[in-house]
């Protein structure tokens, strides 16, 4: 199966932070035949192991997505909400969302909404005729469909389903690995890497790589400025707000990319973190690196990346497995 089709299937599965059961099942089905064993844990992480004799290498890609959670429903059935994960109100206004049971809805602004100072408290979810099916505590995610056009992927939940697709594709390609490989699809990353924290503790890896999206800096007026661009290949993480990557992990990724002719770029992400942040300080410390997929408009209903960058990430993950 090509990587676009795989991403499209995964992006359509409901799974905001804390509600990863459906996406875990979808990932598990797509790992069939590739993994020697697949396990789940208390927080909802899914781990696929491919046995090897060497080092214990952990790859982590979070499978939860940004979402909305209903906090209050008024007498007319309009739902107020909070977010699961960080949100830009600008991105939410007008978004079409979908609940776990398939109920569709729109995110709208009320009369006190101020365009200069947008606040979530001035917005609501309108479910139209299905108001009665939504309860306080129910969650919704962006409901759009993934499309590809001229090598670009436009889709909700590229963060981080495109990276889940990359990890699945890589796991299928490493049949008899040198190292003992653990592909971990983590829960609750959007809430501060909670899944990666317990997964890394349980696993005690010798080395780890987190696979996640990173902000591309190639849009008009982009702040903060960054060199990462769409089509530049897989991004080798040097640091973000949660981690300074281990020099050996960085050097290995850079040298493998050069040796194997994988398009790659160097990445410093500002203001955000990844699973690597939780993993590298687990127990007595884990040498940790990051392989990132450059993406635009992260956490909006229409994230954009390049298919070729996802494929470069797959190649770099396969190369990293031999560290």
């Amino acid at each position: 199966m090509d990587i676009f089709a795989l991403h499209k299937e995964l992006a359509a599965v409901f799974g905001p932070s804390g509600m990863e059961a459906d996406i875990a099942l979808a990932v598990k089905e797509r790992l069939a035949g590739a993994a020697d064993e697949v396990t789940t844990d208390t927080l909802g992480n899914l781990t696929a192991r491919i046995r090897g004799k060497g080092k214990k290498v952990m790859f982590s890609a979070h499978m939860d997505t940004f979402g909305l959670i209903v906090t209050y429903i008024d007498k007319d059935g309009f739902a107020r909400f909070a977010t699961l994960g960080g949100a830009e109100p600008d991105y939410l206004l007008g978004a079409r969302v979908v609940f776990a049971d398939g109920t569709r809805a729109a995110v709208c602004a009320d009369g006190s909404y101020n365009r200069k100072e947008p606040r979530l408290t001035d917005m609501y979810i309108d479910t139209g005729a299905n108001a009665q099916s939504v309860k306080v505590g129910d969650a919704a995610v962006y409901g759009g469909e993934a499309v590809t056009q001229g090598g670009a992927l436009i889709s909700p939940h590229i963060d981080n389903r495109a990276c889940c697709a990359a990890l699945i594709a890589a796991s299928r390609a490493v049949a008899r690995p040198k190292n003992d490989l653990y592909f971990v699809f983590t829960a609750q990353a959007e809430l501060g890497m909670r899944g990666a924290k317990t997964a890394a503790y349980a696993l005690e890896p010798d080395v780890a790589f987190s696979v996640d999206v990173t902000d591309a800096g190639d849009t008009p007026g982009c702040k903060p400025k960054t060199q990462v661009k769409l089509g530049g290949g897989a991004a080798v993480k040097l640091m973000d707000d949660s981690v300074i990557c281990h020099p050996d992990a960085v050097a290995y990724l850079v040298s493998q990319a050069e040796k194997l002719g994988i398009a790659a770029q160097r990445e410093l992400l500002a203001g955000k973190g990844t699973d690597a942040g939780a993993i590298h300080v687990s127990r007595a410390g884990v040498p940790t690196g990051g392989i990132s997929l450059p993406a635009r408009h992260i956490h909006s209903p229409n994230e954009i990346c390049r298919i070729s960058d996802i494929e470069d990430c797959v190649r770099l993950i396969i190369a990293a497995a031999d560290i």
């Binding site: 509600m19 209050y72 977010t83 503790y201």
Partner: protein, 344 residues
Amino acid sequence: MLDIPGILGKLCAIGSPSGFERPVVRAAREMLSGFCSRTEQDALGNLLGFAPCGEENAPVLLLDAHLDEVGVIAAGSEEGYIRFRAHGGMDARVFPAQGVTFLTDPPVYGVVACLPPHILSKAQAEASPGIDEMYIDTCGAYVPPGTPGVFDAEGFALSDTLYCAKSLDNRACFAALLRALELLPRLEPLRGRKRRCDIVVCGSAQEEARLRGAAAASWKIKPQYAVVTDVTFAAQPDTEPDGVFALGSGPAVGVGPVCDRKMAERISALAREHGIPHNIEVMTSRTGTNGDVIGVAAGGVMCAVLSLPLRYMHTPSEVIHTGDLENLARLLAEYILTLGGEAL
């Protein structure tokens, strides 16, 4: 039957802010020991009580209620007046003219100084001074920097059902845990089921100081399940309807990513089945309770959060409804009896 107002009066009278939990742990330990085979105070100041069920390989359930409270810390003295800092999240506007007890031995009493309205300038009257501009009048008594202090506030019954005291956040929930333990043996014959999980009660320390006590305790115990009990916001005329709960409307069952879905669903179902009044509280991202750290201890802990509505949080006059406390205890006891002998 436990005398709940008596327990609240006794626990809330004790000054024990975060990091200085020994006095409250001493009293709470005495109350807890009758329900446990063993109790201890650990290195961080947590009170731990162990109540095994006697079955081999029974799952371990951690019941958490923090025992520390917010307060003040003496920061220095100027001309016999004590400068101080907030110890935990405090609103500067509640301080002027409050009585404060510093926990020296013997205690030093003081009053947060303020000017009478008659001599306030217009600018002074409209100003909202910060805690760093205030001082405590101890009539010249010296208080070493670093000494903790708490508001002077005797607990009292505000009505037949409402109780008012400082530090009901969160000693009211500790009282609810005691009540749940008392209810358990009475509930067993009614439900035709013995308790099949080991209980570890954690009267945790330093919750108001970034949840430190529960973090350490949960790593030590490594339970399969945890129920965190803490206070939440009760409705009053100035609150928005979203996320607050009327006093007397029952405990709130937390729903959100930190709260295990199956646990929350089972607890709500039990409340409906047994006619226990309750609310659903949406807890987005962090809950602000010990659940945030217990859930991610070691390889992960399945966690539920049960909250007791409370008005005027972090003031000398916190108010709860004793019916909510009783219903929280009932709901917790019902839940405990469903654990064990099966996978959740």
